[in-house]
């Protein structure tokens, strides 16, 4: 196993074109982005989200106060009738409608609506916690309120999830997604060189007494590792050389890189396992998939991401690049741990499905023609 891994590592590191696309290209692109945006755009702060507030007779007073507290900071609230609010929502003049019954209506699945959702979710959870404390430990209520006050103060100062959204960041999140997904190229190469019907090298290895799955596992692990390092280098470069203030904790972002690399390489593996197409055709497929995927995640324009999510809401849930970018958003912008975890789980599940598909394609494979 170590023998296989050692040589795969040597081969991959010496494969200049593959290393250029997986390691150098994202760095070049990141540098170009940095120059293109200039320093000014990075100082742009997240604009206040316009929301309508609809009061009802059964409304919750505390929630009203919470919305008032948010007004002027991260929200721009306006009290109005439900009918008028719905019209404004349909016209896109407001991003959502908060009912004082702790309900939220949004028209699309955009980032802003996610922030509003997250805000409501945070409030509901805190309220439940306070009620729980009041019923079980009334003597600690004072401490809890104090802690809550501190929390409110924090959220008031730093906005929704704890961070301000730099509009340029969205490109860098998509770029990180691209860096991860470029693992599809070494992943594809692994399978090309492993299958007997695709290359003489594959045939020579299939004839050996080393179990095929052992070979695939060894080279895949090395490829995952190298791709993770490539993505991590891109992350460090953007964070510390280009001085982009991602803000989120580095460990969390590295975890995204790890899962992103996993899905990138897995994508290459599964494409490599399908059919007998020539390598050039398969490279074309993975290139198209990765670029479209990154485009929909906002690599070319953040508007594309928004438009895609409005037109096909589920696309953001299955598009690997969108999920990777979304995980970065969760960590850096709206500090939504639950959604961050969900993104990582989604990436893990998708990778698992792809690897399983690849396994089923190649298991006990004896080729119909070579």
């Amino acid at each position: 196993m170590l023998h296989l891994m050692k040589y795969r590592l040597k081969q991959t590191l010496r494969e200049k074109s593959s290393m250029f696309w997986a390691l150098c290209f994202p760095l070049i692109l990141a540098t170009l982005f940095r120059f293109a945006f200039g320093s000014g755009s990075f100082d742009e702060v997240f604009q206040k989200i316009p929301v309508a507030v609809v009061m009802t007779s059964e409304g919750n007073e505390t929630f009203r106060e919470f919305l008032d507290a948010m007004d002027g900071d991260m929200l721009k609230t306006e009290e109005m009738s439900e009918e008028k609010a719905l019209k404004k929502l349909a016209a896109g003049e407001v991003e959502g409608i908060f009912y004082d019954t702790k309900r939220l209506a949004v028209s699309s699945n955009s980032i802003k609506s996610s922030i509003l959702n997250s805000l409501l979710d945070t409030y509901v959870k805190n309220e439940a916690m306070m009620l729980d404390i009041a019923s079980k430990h009334p003597e600690r209520m004072q401490d809890a309120l104090q802690a809550m006050g501190e929390f409110t103060s924090t959220t008031e100062e730093v906005s929704a999830g704890g961070r301000s959204l730099d509009t340029g960041l969205s490109f860098f999140f998509a770029l990180m997604a691209m860096s991860c997904l470029y693992g599809c190229f070494p992943g594809l190469q692994v399978m090309q060189e492993t299958r007997a019907n695709l290359a003489a090298l594959g045939a020579r290895q299939c004839i050996s007494p080393t179990h095929r799955l052992k070979r695939i596992l060894a080279v895949s692990l090395v490829t995952y590792g190298i791709q993770f390092v490539n993505s991590a280098v891109a992350l460090f470069y953007i964070r510390f050389v280009l001085k982009m203030d991602f803000g989120g904790n580095m460990g969390g972002m590295l975890l995204i890189c790890l899962m992103g690399s996993l899905i990138g390489v897995s994508m290459g593996i599964v494409v490599g396992c399908i059919g007998k197409m020539r390598e050039g055709a398969k490279v074309g497929i993975v290139l198209a998939v990765s670029m479209i995927s990154c485009g929909l995640a906002g690599l070319y324009s953040s508007d594309i991401k928004v438009m895609a999510e409005e037109a096909i809401p589920w696309i953001g849930r299955v598009n690997p690049a969108s999920v990777i970018a979304d995980a970065f958003y969760c960590l850096n912008v709206y500090n939504d741990k639950a959604r961050y975890t969900q993104c990582l789980v989604t990436l893990a599940v998708m990778s698992g499905v792809m690897v399983l598909a690849g396994f089923l394609f190649t298991r006990r494979e004896r080729y119909d023609s070579i």
Binding site: H3, Y7, L201, A203, Q205, C206, I207, P209, E365, I370
Partner: protein
């Protein structure tokens, strides 16, 4: 060592192997001779469990060959028709990689790699990458990668294709040496001279069937041709050709572009009789030569076409 029985392989309507039967004995160099597309490589791929086949069975060293027959695979070395080495690894690393698929012990592996490098004469090219090697050296590296682990059965699928004569001789000598060290070799080629030169027994294959099998002498004795006489720079009329056809032991005459080719059955003085006839008729001629039958003649008589058609 190897028994292939009634093997049938179809690609759609095309029958690539048509009830192929072969037996390769321990310690011999067995040649599979046939034109391009005759089914040699398909037979080899089936033998190595790389390819599914529709019918029949393959046994190696008494055991059935399967994709997961790792104990059998351990004994087999393969030299593919296409060079199969890693471009990113140098000569030593390539041989070490492939040897490592068979041999786990590091010390033993190192010895085997050194032996393989010496065997193919690549001592001065250890650190070179495949792109830096000439075609002949590349073929030698390809062979080293296939035989480094000292297999008892070596399958060589046209290892001398596109190789210069010097390298080809070196490769053929190497194959003989491997055989002398105890390896059984299956050697496929469409070069009859190579097969005649190194193989103990030969199977002539076409359209996926074995047409004849035996030693080269046995194969040659199967055919009618005992001698082929060629006379260049000769002018003959139809009457002369007819008279030549009627000479004893002559069974076929081919005359075109002032070259006469006469095929005779096995007999003494065939050449003398023909030359006497020409002398008697005062017919002048240029170069004359007589050839004993080759495997190409065997193939020609059996199939009615040239081996290299």
């Amino acid at each position: 060592m190897v028994q292939i029985e009634n093997m049938v392989k179809r690609y759609g309507k095309l029958v690539a192997l048509d009830h192929l039967n072969l037996e390769v004995r321990d310690g011999e160099i067995f040649g599979l001779l046939g034109p391009n597309g005759s089914g040699k490589t398909t037979a080899i791929n089936c033998l190595l469990a790389l390819l599914k086949f529709d019918k029949g069975s393959i046994r190696i060293a008494g055991k059935e060959m399967q994709p997961d027959a790792y104990d059998l695979k351990q004994k087999i070395g393969v030299v593919m028709q296409n060079v199969a080495v890693f471009e990113q690894l140098n000569v030593t690393e390539n041989i070490d990689y492939f040897c490592g698929l068979y041999v786990q012990d590091k010390k033993r592996k190192k010895e085997l790699v050194e032996e393989a490098i010496s065997f193919v004469g690549l001592q001065n090219y250890r650190k070179m990458r495949p792109k830096q090697l000439s075609g002949g050296l590349l073929r030698r590296l390809n062979i080293a990668c296939g035989i480094a682990h000292k297999p008892s059965l070596i399958v060589m699928d046209e290892p001398t294709v596109a190789v210069d004569p010097q390298s080809r001789n070196k490769i053929l000598e190497g194959i003989k040496e491997l055989n002398q060290r105890g390896a059984t070799v299956i050697y496929t080629s469409h070069y009859m001279e190579e097969v005649e030169q190194i193989c103990d027994r030969v199977a002539i294959i076409d359209h996926g069937r074995v047409l004849a099998c035996g030693t080269t002498e046995e194969l040659k004795s199967m055919i009618k041709t005992g001698e082929t006489i060629t006379i260049e720079g000769i002018l003959l009329g139809e009457e002369n050709l007819q008279e030549l056809r009627e000479l004893p032991h002559v069974f076929e005459i081919d005359y075109r572009e002032s070259i006469l080719v006469v095929r005779c059955s096995k007999a003494k003085h065939n050449l003398v009789r023909i030359l006497d006839y020409l002398k008697g008729k005062e017919i002048s001629f240029g170069r004359v030569f007589s050839e004993l039958p080759t495997l190409n003649d065997v193939f020609l008589e059996i199939t009615g076409k040239e081996l290299r058609d």
